[in-house]
Symmetry: C2
Subunit: 740 residues, 2 copies
């Protein structure tokens, strides 16, 4: 599923440039003529007017200019949930997204006695709508402003890595602070083209979000992890939230007095739907792509990082499963974590497999050779670009040495309580500084979210699982050469070159027996504690956090120095890439970065393998063929009966002769696009993007028009389930459903 | 792969009838109009004139009458290898079949130093052709005669089960003895329609068969067990034998003086091949189908037998693998056994899965209900048929009690040395009787084959594996209730209700240490020994064979009594089925029984699942996509290079733009059809049938036009491999290859 990685595992590399040159338009459309070119690309809204003619030719019926204006339909109907995309589908703030995007909130409200994961949930009226998991937000993008010169103010060529990093960070924080002054917005400064451009993105932050409707997991997650990234697919991956605001119409914390938010516009839902070959587009928030990385980075990622990281994920999955009985409260607490671990384990495996089978690295190497040749064939270009090529190579090399240690540390976050202790102590330390100087994540603007994450632990934690996870992670940590280990960690857990796992486990056992961090009130109290109180604490996990702090900070500083150096050279490298592509007449869009993007294409099947064709639609009857009665192929009996009875209602696709369930399209999407409305040429909702086919996973790095296919749940299936399975008549009446 | 089960696991039920009524023609073609009806059916050659009009309409260009005459082209170009089908493709007795049909002979000639399985084998001239595995035969069907009345001579209604069985057996043996008087033929009496008809089948038995050519296993078995029963497929499943005879033109044992056999006709090979939708037919020897079994039998097979038998197979596979290192002489010895075990383990699993998903049992139950209603709706029919319905039900029920014991005993044959001992002693016992009274398999006509099977053990046996297999089988045997256990076996291996496996293993250890049956000369000597010599032997396995003999005979007698009773009632039941189908205008063909059959259909893909299409052809480029470099996806480097270079020669299919590798068709085939020539409308060879898709495995019981697809290796791929990979120019010149 295309949810974003919830746990970011690599340092964000946000580079800077010294001199902001006046750039020629980044997009050159001369070469666009075939739909195969057009299907690749996650376009920034402001780029779309340049694509107008092409969009009209493809079949877009609304004014393409509208797609560039965030205050116009359909753009202002599209929202972010932070990690997922979604859309308003009623004037009363009803939001539709994927089932797997509301899954955390369904899980949050589930107990063994009242398991909403199994049964699904439907509020038949507003008063029955229930709070979502803490931290759930609806973000409405209101403004996107080019702030490149502001971000790079004060940065010059000779600035050191760490100073560059700090300057950019300070400029960003200042821009963000100004932007958020209303108290109702969440702002961010995003790098585009690896730091060649920066945009300030201002989003209204709706903080009272309620769960309205989620079908049973046996519909919403039909096929489960087995079908994940697969076609044919029969997943009813949809669910509904509602955005609430205060009676003044402004965002507010949850209150019984709050009222539904009135969006500026909303999407109509098409009951007619799409047909093979029809124009579709997706407007959403793709998380991240890597379409412009160097050969060395590609090799490191596919030949080292993905295989290693997959190993960690598989190990942690095993540990969670071995330490929690199926159906137990412990397992329910970890369902969300398991889903995320599984999702990207499969993703990484497919990445490696696809890489092994494709000629991607050969093509990338060739492209890099061509770029260098193009640069070297002209003395001015050589002078302008070759330092960036060379320096970036040096930086990437220097980044290799500590990669093993970086990886181990990145997975340490799966040990919940120690990780909470580190964050709590860090907060106390940061609070000693003025707000503007604090590390992002620990500023006043972040405290509400930090508090909610400390609350959420109560429902996402089990002591037995957490201890076993920590034990495993420490065993992996202990394999690191001494220079990459932490003295505080070695000392606290009694680790040396010869680890005695039994002794380490005993220390873990004692620490968890003595800590109070498993208590929610205690965790919340630490949010307001002073550094001195931490230093005087007897809680073993707090003591460990205090003891390891200075080593952590040293590592962070080293990392920032490196990131500052990347910020120096990446934008220049990217400028060369863009100039080179421009010389070839190739269109250029920026890598995805969680900002609002538009992708367009067609409903279309493909040939995943020699001798095999993926048809564009699956159908209700396919559920009968797939169903085994066993999870995850255990559709409700009522559903099987309805299908056998041919109860299609008005939702059949004539050419298919039955109700379509999922469909394929050429839309260019990635993690974060989950829940994105698939729209027809009139910008009506015809489906919800939720996944890609197995062969398209490598698309984050290398888009292949023949292989990349996005999977949407068909709006007709959603409506069919709502009407015939769940009787969600209140929502069907609330939405605007169009037949033509 | 569609090889027949080498180890027959169920008693052959060959029923008889008392009164031979004059039957109306069994085939009623009124209902045949669509190709979907025509594609089902394994037709006896004599039935084909009745299908003439339909065959011409489908596109057959040769005279359909020819297909009914065994002495005419193309029928006399088609041969049996006993378990596989094959065809003559030159006037010098060159025979083409599947790679997996010559696999045993390739394995037989392989050593760790000279591993033909890995490297393949090509004789560039006659003198380089090497002997095949002992017992390899080429059978040319010369005559098929209706002998129903002869077989049932002397049988009356009141005859008891055992007497009926013996009478039919005696009649059959007498017919066979007459038929084989030349000394050069192998004859058999086959039951059709479950004993409603019997035919005497006379086949010339060519005993000197040599291995001519087999591609490397990385081509011939590409995809291995992983791809077995799968589509898309890229297997070069072809290989060549040559039939040799004495200088007098008559079959003879191997001799350097022998000369190639001159067949009456041979097939031309088409380099033009077929296209999607083209007419194809297959002429071969399908082993067995069960399209007319009762509901109770179907349920027993799918809900009990297949799951249980699959368990045995998986267990034995594990034992062989655990007790032989990959690539060792031991493993090579068992490759053939493993292939067969794997093949049917997968087959059984698919049977059970398909059964669970399909409505087969519902339809079968309905059909049985309809049959009974049709019978009961008319008093004459009720009088004529209802006893058979009732009695068959009783017999099937009574067969259930001992099924567990029957299954265990059927798998005991996988313990090679004890099984050899039993057969050797049985031979000594049988030899005391006149030849005509001996059990089939122990008559003079069988001795050569028995001798060869004793020789073959030397290359198909490893002591460690055999001991472990026996230990496993005895542990399963020990689970049987005492009434189903053998006193001799319990006593010899020290088994009681509480088995001490360590003690049993010690007895096995001692027995194998002391036996001389692992020595080929010793085994062959026992072929000529007297009963007294057996009884005086100190060889522990011989002593066990002697001690357990009388219990075995008792079991055999009980089994024959039951079979005799089935011979009483099955034909009458079948007569009712035929009469009922005739009343519906449904065409009737007999279940497959290893006799020569013709099936016709079209090159055509299908939809295996909702949302997925199997295309009719795979291509060379698919090998690039599938190849991992690891067995079984390790095509030779030379092949990958040729494909990358687009070296298609004259073998490309224009609509595909490349060389087709395998193709799908609607031909109705089963185990035994392996190696069957897929012929075009001119009866030219366009492919070799070698497998079916996963969804068609249940086709042995229930033909579904939408699901059943046969897989052929395309003749163009065969020719491509011969020309570009292996340089088999001598064979390309010997064959008649036609371009149009």
């Amino acid at each position: 599923m295309f949810t974003m990685k919830l746990c970011t595992m690599k340092p964000k590399q946000e580079p800077a440039r010294i001199v902001r040159r006046a750039l020629a338009p980044l997009i050159v459309l001369a070469a666009i003529g075939t739909s195969s070119v057009a299907d690749e690309g996650m376009w920034q809204p402001h780029q779309l007017p340049d694509l107008s003619a092409h969009l009209r030719q493809l079949g877009l019926e609304i004014n393409p200019e509208n797609l560039s204006r965030l205050d116009q339909f359909p753009m202002n109907a599209v929202v972010s949930l932070g990690g997922c995309s979604a859309s308003f589908v009623s004037p009363q703030g009803l939001v539709v997204t994927n089932h797997h995007c509301v899954y955390g909130s369904v899980q949050y409200n589930s107990t063994p006695e009242n398991n909403l994961l199994v049964d699904g949930f439907l509020a038949k009226q507003l008063g029955e709508e229930i709070p979502t998991a803490p931290g759930t937000r609806v973000y409405v993008t209101e403004e996107v402003t080019d702030v490149t010169s502001d971000v790079l103010a004060g940065v010059i060529k000779s600035t050191s890595g760490i100073d560059r990093y700090k300057a950019i960070e300070a400029n960003r924080k200042s821009l963000i602070a100004d932007c958020e002054s209303s108290g109702n917005h969440r702002c961010g400064v995003s790098a585009f083209h690896q730091g060649l451009e920066y945009f300030l993105i201002k989003r209204l932050e709706v903080r009272d979000v309620r769960l309205v409707y989620a079908p049973a997991t046996s519909i919403g997650k039909y096929g489960g992890d087995i079908d994940n990234w697969q076609w044919p697919r029969h997943t009813g991956d949809f669910g509904f939230y509602r955005a609430y605001v205060g009676t003044d119409g402004q965002p507010a914390e949850y209150s019984e007095d709050n009222v539904p938010y009135s969006p500026a516009s909303f999407l109509e839902v098409s009951a007619k739907g799409v047909e093979d070959g029809d124009f579709v587009m997706g407007v959403g928030y793709p998380g991240g792509t890597n379409r412009y990385r160097t050969t060395a980075e590609v090799e490191n990622e596919f030949e080292w990082y993905y295989p290693k990281a997959r190993g960690f994920r598989e190990d942690i999955i095993s540990i969670i499963n071995e330490n929690s009985t199926e159906g137990s409260a412990a397992r329910i607490a970890y369902e969300n974590t398991l889903a995320s671990l599984n999702n990207y384990s499969k993703n990484f495996q497919s990445m490696v497999e696809s890489y092994g089978k494709s000629d991607f690295i050969d093509r990338r190497t060739q492209a890099e050779t061509d770029l260098v040749e193009w640069i070297n064939s002209d003395s001015q270009r050589r002078e302008q670009y070759s330092p960036a090529i060379r320096q970036l190579e040096v930086l990437i090399d220097s980044n290799h040495a500590a990669r093993e240690a970086d990886l181990v540390r990145s997975y340490m976050g799966y040990a919940t309580l120690p990780s909470a202790a580190h964050r709590l102590y860090r907060l106390a330390m940061e609070k000693q500084k003025p707000d503007a100087e604090r590390e992002p994540g620990y500023q006043e603007r972040d405290l509400r979210r930090l508090r909610q994450s400390m609350q959420a632990i109560s429902r996402r934690f089990d002591e037995t699982v957490d201890k076993a996870t920590l034990s495993y992670l420490l065993s992996r940590y202990a394999e690191l050469p001494e220079q990459y280990r932490s003295q505080a960690t070695d000392s606290f857990f009694g680790i040396s070159s010869n680890i005695d796992q039994g002794q380490v486990d005993q220390i873990i056992e004692n620490s968890y027996a003595q800590t109070s961090l498993d208590d929610e009130a205690t965790r919340l109290a630490w949010l307001d504690s002073s550094v001195e109180e931490f230093e005087n604490s007897d809680d073993p996990l707090i003591r460990y956090a205090v003891a390891s702090y200075s080593e952590r900070m040293t590592l962070e500083l080293e990392s920032k120095e490196l990131r500052g150096q990347f910020q120096r050279w990446r934008p220049e490298y990217m400028e060369a890439v863009i100039a080179y592509n421009r010389s070839l007449g190739q269109p250029i869009y920026a890598d995805a970065n969680s900002s609002l993007r538009v992708t367009f294409g067609q409903v279309r099947g493909n040939q995943p393998k020699d001798g095999l064709i993926n048809q564009p639609f699956t159908s209700l009857e396919g559920i009968l063929g797939k169903d085994t009665g066993l999870d995850p192929f255990n559709a409700p009996t009522k559903q099987l009966d309805l299908i056998r009875a041919g109860q299609y209602g008005d939702y059949a696709l004539p050419s298919l002769g039955t109700v379509p369930v999922n469909f394929l399209s050429t839309l260019d999407i990635t993690g974060g696009n989950s829940g994105t409305a698939t729209m027809n040429s009139k910008a009506q909702l015809v489906g919800l993007l939720f996944d890609g086919v197995y062969e398209s996973i490598i698309g984050d790095w290398d888009f292949d028009d023949a292989k990349n296919r996005a999977i949407s749940v068909d709006a007709r299936y959603m409506l069919w389930v709502m009407e015939y399975m769940d009787g969600a008549t209140n929502l069907l009446e609330e939405m605007t459903i169009v037949q033509e």
